[in-house]
């Protein structure tokens, strides 16, 4: 299966040749596809005229980039210091048990990707999790199931 590269081209149109545009364009591609498809990496290398190895080096160095497809929904749990001392680990482990994944993994049905990050900047409200862009402060392992259920229920009518 080859992904549609027209969006990649539109993104690359905004950057000239050379290394300078590499990270910004990869960030935008990541945002659109939720990961960096191999074809996109090749396209970036061609259009910016930089060797593929450098594109790959950057794509694999930075945590914001994923080289594997990710789930429909992204769950991010903060494991920054403030969240750690308030039980962030308990939170991520509980989500992992409920969804049967580890941090960094995606559920088999490609519904959820579980991710750990170091600090989202809401440290005062730790532990914090983010589900598809919505922040949940003062979380607790016991509240996880409800949050997941609720968001999935909202999902159903929206889809039909």
């Amino acid at each position: 299966m080859t992904a549609d590269m027209s969006k990649v081209d539109t993104i690359l149109d905004r950057y000239g040749q050379g290394q300078r545009g590499l990270i910004p364009s990869l960030l935008e591609i990541q945002k659109v596809y939720h990961y960096l498809p191999p074809e996109a990496l090749q396209r970036v290398a061609d259009r910016l005229s930089i060797p593929m190895i450098q594109v790959y080096q950057v794509a694999s160095f930075y945590k914001a980039f994923s080289l594997e497809p990710r789930g429909e929904h992204l769950i991010t749990v903060c494991l920054g210091t403030a969240c750690h001392v308030r039980g962030g680990e308990m939170l991520i482990e509980q989500i992992g048990r409920l969804l049967n994944v580890k941090a960094g993994e995606t559920t088999k049905d490609m519904q959820f990707t579980l991710e750990a990050v170091n600090c989202l900047g809401c440290c005062a409200l730790g532990p914090v999790m983010v589900l598809d862009g919505k922040y949940y402060g003062s979380m607790a392992a016991s509240k996880v199931e409800k949050v997941l259920d609720k968001s999935m229920k909202q999902e159903v009518p929206a889809n039909g």
Binding site: R20, V58, T81, R86, Q94, V117, L120, C122, C123, A141
Partner: protein, 619 residues
């Protein structure tokens, strides 16, 4: 050397007068916090509810509604403050809004239920200005946080914004600007505390036509959010500082390197840049002064090491964030080999204040060597978590116990961690120490960028050391062997200790390894990565020894060393814990004490979390 003000500068002043003239200080205005913290508590729904209610109750014309940045008291959010009296409502929900409009706005009545209750006196407090959390602070950088709308450049103008820029451009030479900053004693707020004026001077004097300046908004320290808070509340103050700095240094192009994890801050700083361009405050011939400067925004891609200046520069150039040796310093050879000056968000934000009020005004505040105020994010196991600004030199105890409100749930506070992964833990017995660059360093920690994480008796210090080493192990770029391998080994030893495999001599080995990593790493990451270990060993050796010798975790954190049990006398047999237990390790009969099967228990702790009777304990 004063030049005549240009037409554009005079027009800016005129506009400011107009805005101020059009303001009615007695007009009621409602300020809803829209910072990331309160947004996590759905403050956006509160703001929408106000919009609806003001219309429904027919007062949308006479009452102003403003979404502001973070006023700092995140713990009490969503926060709503009714001006001009500054009535302070906490934990406001959308359902409370109709009542606030009908009672407080229309009839001047105070709603008791939404007031802040001072935990020490038990008293309800009506006005923001009287809340102890605020009373004890000295807010200069954060003065407008919670007052102005970060999306409105005119709010910033009304608060005196861009006055300092005009002063610098028309009344001062670049050298005079640098002299003023130098004289003020301002030290960098990004961690190392280098003199800002000296750094600017080096860059100004460096040879080269093209020079760059950078704002470091990478804020990688987990548990710190001052830079985010400031950008989300007052983005123009940072921008104004950068424009003044560019004029002083002679740079035409600037970059703001900001974390990808801060979407709101990114949006707001982008908007601010665009507004500043539209008003002629950025771009060619700024305010008709002849000086030109523009700013580009680059997002970080999630690498802690990119907060380090040479790694940040590599990242801006589109490469992986590997630091390089210094010298040459960025001031000599930075971005694309050009002289480059890099400062933290808060350092830039100080500049307009110092230019406006003078070096003398700034240097009066703080201690002999640490001038001004400092912004801390005070988080962890205390009551009043949030963002505070205090003069340098106040004691840790004052900051933690009076402003921070002390411990939650009656637990005993034990230590405070400053400086993030590069810092150390300072025990409660040393909290008389003043907060400044030098005292914290003497205690084995560092000031860092202002993260302050408070820990109580239920925090395990060995686990904290393990946590930080895990962090730096993960974030090490891998260039230096000492950092890549040494930190990994230190982490492994700590991990073994927390799992009950600690051996005699481990503590000494950790100390030795720490010294080696420090001595042979190239950048600040490796040089400081071992720091959490020596301070925790120095002040909490008995906790290490308990893990190593007795295989116990006194704080009840390290899973391999603890067991959960239910106290029969306390358990009424509600069965809630059993319902939450994913491993089905809790059994019992309704209305009789329940029981945990130690074999099946994975020590996830959810039973203790949900128990309403404190019947689940750890030993």
């Amino acid at each position: 050397m004063a030049k005549a003000r240009s037409v554009a500068a005079l027009e800016l002043e005129k506009r400011r007068e107009e805005i101020l003239g059009g303001q009615d200080p007695s007009r009621i205005s409602i300020k809803v916090c829209g910072g990331t913290g309160c947004l996590a508590l759905s403050s956006d729904e509160v703001a929408q509810a106000f919009e609806r209610e003001l219309r429904a109750q027919g007062v949308e014309g006479s009452v102003a509604l403003k979404t502001t940045g973070c006023p700092g008291f995140c713990e009490q959010g969503p926060l709503v403050v009714v001006h001009p009296q500054r009535i302070f409502y906490t934990h406001v929900k959308p359902d409370d809004v109709a009542e606030i409009v009908s009672k407080t706005i229309l009839q001047g009545e105070i709603i008791d239920r939404l007031l802040y209750k001072d935990p020490s006196s038990g008293e309800k407090i009506v006005y923001e200005t009287e809340v102890p959390f605020y009373k004890e602070q000295k807010r200069i950088l954060l003065k407008e946080s919670g007052l102005i709308d970060p999306r409105e450049i005119e709010d910033y103008l009304a608060a005196g914004g861009y006055k300092a820029l005009a002063r610098a451009l028309f009344e001062m030479t670049p050298d005079e600007v640098i002299a003023e900053i130098k004289q003020s004693g301002l030290r960098g707020r990004g961690g190392a505390g280098f003199s800002t004026g000296v750094k600017w001077e080096l860059c100004r004097q460096a040879k080269g036509e093209t020079k760059y300046i950078i704002c470091n908004a990478d804020e990688g320290d987990p548990g710190a959010f001052q830079d985010r808070g400031l950008i989300e509340a007052n983005p123009h103050s940072v921008l104004e500082g950068m424009i003044i700095g560019a004029y002083a240094i002679g740079a035409q192009q600037g970059f703001i390197y900001i974390r990808n994890e801060y979407p709101l801050a990114v949006e707001l700083i982008r908007l601010a840049v665009q507004q500043a361009r539209e008003r002629g405050l950025l771009g060619e011939d700024i305010l008709g002064s002849g000086a030109s400067f523009d700013v580009e925004i680059q997002l970080g891609a999630g690498a802690f090491v990119c907060g380090e200046e040479t790694a940040l520069i590599a990242s801006l150039e589109g490469r992986i964030g590997e630091p390089r040796t210094r010298p040459p310093y960025p001031a000599q050879s930075g971005l694309w080999g050009m002289p480059t000056n890099i400062n933290n968000v808060k350092t830039w934000a100080w500049v307009p204040h110092i230019i406006h009020n003078g070096a003398g005004w700034f240097s009066q505040m703080g201690t002999e060597k640490s001038k001004g105020t400092t912004v801390f994010s005070v988080v962890g196991k205390i009551k009043n978590t949030g963002l505070v600004e205090v003069p340098m030199g106040i004691s840790l105890r004052h900051l933690i116990e009076d402003i921070g409100g002390g411990a939650t749930n009656g637990k005993k506070l034990k230590a405070v961690q400053t400086g993030g992964p590069s810092g150390g833990c300072i025990p409660e017995s040393l909290w008389h120490l003043p907060v400044d660059y030098d005292s914290l360093r003497e205690a084995g920690s560092i000031m860092g960028s202002g993260g302050l994480i408070v820990m109580d008796e239920s925090t395990c210090m060995v686990d904290i050391a393990r946590y930080f080493l895990n962090f730096t192990k993960f974030e090490s770029c891998g260039k230096c062997t000492a950092c890549r391998e040494g930190v990994l080994r230190m982490y492994e030893i700590l991990d073994y200790i927390t799992r009950g495999y600690g051996q005699e001599g481990d503590i000494e080995l950790l100390e030795e390894l720490g010294k080696a990593v420090k001595a042979s790493s190239l950048c600040g990451l490796g040089q400081t990565a071992p720091n959490p270990v020596p301070t925790t060993i120095r002040y909490f050796r008995e906790e290490y020894e308990a893990h190593v010798k007795e295989k116990t975790c006194p704080a009840g954190v390290c899973k391999s060393l603890i067991t959960f049990y239910i106290v029969p006398e306390k358990c009424p047999g509600c069965g809630l814990c059993a319902r939450y237990c994913t491993e089905k390790s809790i059994s019992g009969e309704k209305n009789k004490p329940y029981f945990i099967d130690e074999e099946k228990c994975i020590r996830c702790g959810i039973c203790r979390e949900v128990c309403k009777f404190d019947a689940v304990l750890v030993k």
